[in-house]
Symmetry: C2
Subunit: 253 residues, 2 copies
């Protein structure tokens, strides 16, 4: 039975998509069967893995298409994706008009969970409808947190939303962890934010920290996860370490 993990944070540019792609790819090379669902109309997870944004993805799945038509292969064995498509831009308004509107994604994914070990839901930078749908469908949430002031500021609002979803439509929802991203050891602000988060949210922060690493921002322009683009880079090594940390938790659970 798949574990459904949402990548959520309304603050923009904190590493949600980068984490979805590179964590899923790192788990896939460790023989876990992985699926990414691109819930963001921008479609960065789709193009970051070298696919075109074209009809036949999440929009079609939500509005009734067969799941087998919506799941696509990527350049990484064992990693599949349900891509975003241009229709997703208007999808939020259309979804709001349907019945059971908050559980549309959960129902659409129902039949596919048996085929995967991990399913990652990449969310847009907002607490709007698509993100709520992902939080309702998910078992756990990873919060990528850029080590900067504005990102820290938005954390309490995000945790409030997760609690609200847990109190309503998804009582099972819990935090997989807070992931510190774009950490720059030379920069005071990075260290201050990391210390503050670890002391405020004891036990909720992953041991693994993702450093700022240019290879991570170059890889998507080649349509590859960083472990295929440059396996020796600090970026690739940090996401492999994160995958190990998550798998070790599984075996202890």
């Amino acid at each position: 039975m798949a574990r459904l993990i949402a990548l959520a944070n309304q603050k923009g540019g904190v590493g949600k998509t980068t984490t979805a792609i590179n964590l899923a790819a790192s788990l896939a090379v460790a023989e876990r069967r992985c699926l990414i669902v691109d819930c963001d109309p921008q479609g960065n997870a789709t193009t970051g893995l070298g696919l075109e944004k074209q009809p036949g993805g999440l929009y079609e799945l939500i509005f009734g298409a067969q799941i087998s038509q919506c799941v696509k292969e990527t350049g990484v064995p064992g990693l599949h994706i349900i891509p975003s498509s241009p229709e997703m831009i208007g999808a939020e308004v259309e979804m709001m008009e349907k019945d059971h509107r908050e559980t549309l994604l959960k129902e659409a994914l129902g039949s596919v969970t048996a085929r995967y070990d991990y399913i990652f839901l990449d969310c847009p930078p907002s607490l709007g409808f698509l993100t709520i749908n992902a939080l309702v469908a998910a078992h756990t949430v990873i919060l990528p947190l850029q080590c900067e002031y504005y990102a820290l500021e938005g954390l309490s609002e995000l945790l409030k939303t997760i609690r609200a979803v847990r109190g309503g439509l998804n009582p099972e929802l819990r935090l997989e962890g807070i992931l510190l991203t774009m950490f720059d050891v030379r920069n005071n602000l990075s260290r201050q934010v990391a210390e503050e988060v670890r002391s405020h949210f004891k036990g909720l922060v992953f041991e693994t920290v993702i450093p700022r690493n240019v290879r991570l921002s170059e890889a998507p322009s080649h349509g590859q996860p960083v472990l295929l683009y440059d396996i020796r880079s600090k970026g690739a090594q940090s996401y492999l370490a994160l995958a190990r940390e998550i798998m070790e938790r599984e075996s202890r659970a």
Copy 2:
């Protein structure tokens, strides 16, 4: 008569808020009367200038409060702000149910334009309702563009939206310019993206380029624009140069 300039880009974390705060502050020290309208429920422009997010801001203005109650002073002489408030999180849904929903912001700002030279509308990372309202109210748009792959990807969607607003509710809307941000001269990707944008969008890209500079990310944690936090930094100098470039265009226009 004020020039209304929107800062828009659905890609997250590209420097919309940083540009709104630091460009407005740079124009204010050059004796231009400036106002920032924080159209983002995250409220980063509000806290980045040292104010609390509290009732009595944009939400109240749109739903009928007197403008004089919603405009607040900042730590920079000549720079005022209409802050975001916690109610803004639910505002998009409420705004959609009103008549003339796309022109709510434009009407709310109507009476204040005579008191300022520049009004900056800081948008959230989406092409949703709040951003559309800002594009309908604005005369021109600045597109902050991070010199990275995903940011370049989203540009065509953004330009399509601007053309759609120009073709419908705001025929006057035009592009003030594309602003290259977080440019890192040591990084190939930065240079490639900058070259590609300048060749594709000839004449639409500002001469001034904003470098990646840690002072820009430290300043908001002190509630100050970077020119008050560290005037000698490359970040402060680049936004002063941008302000000059915009003022020189004015005198030539």
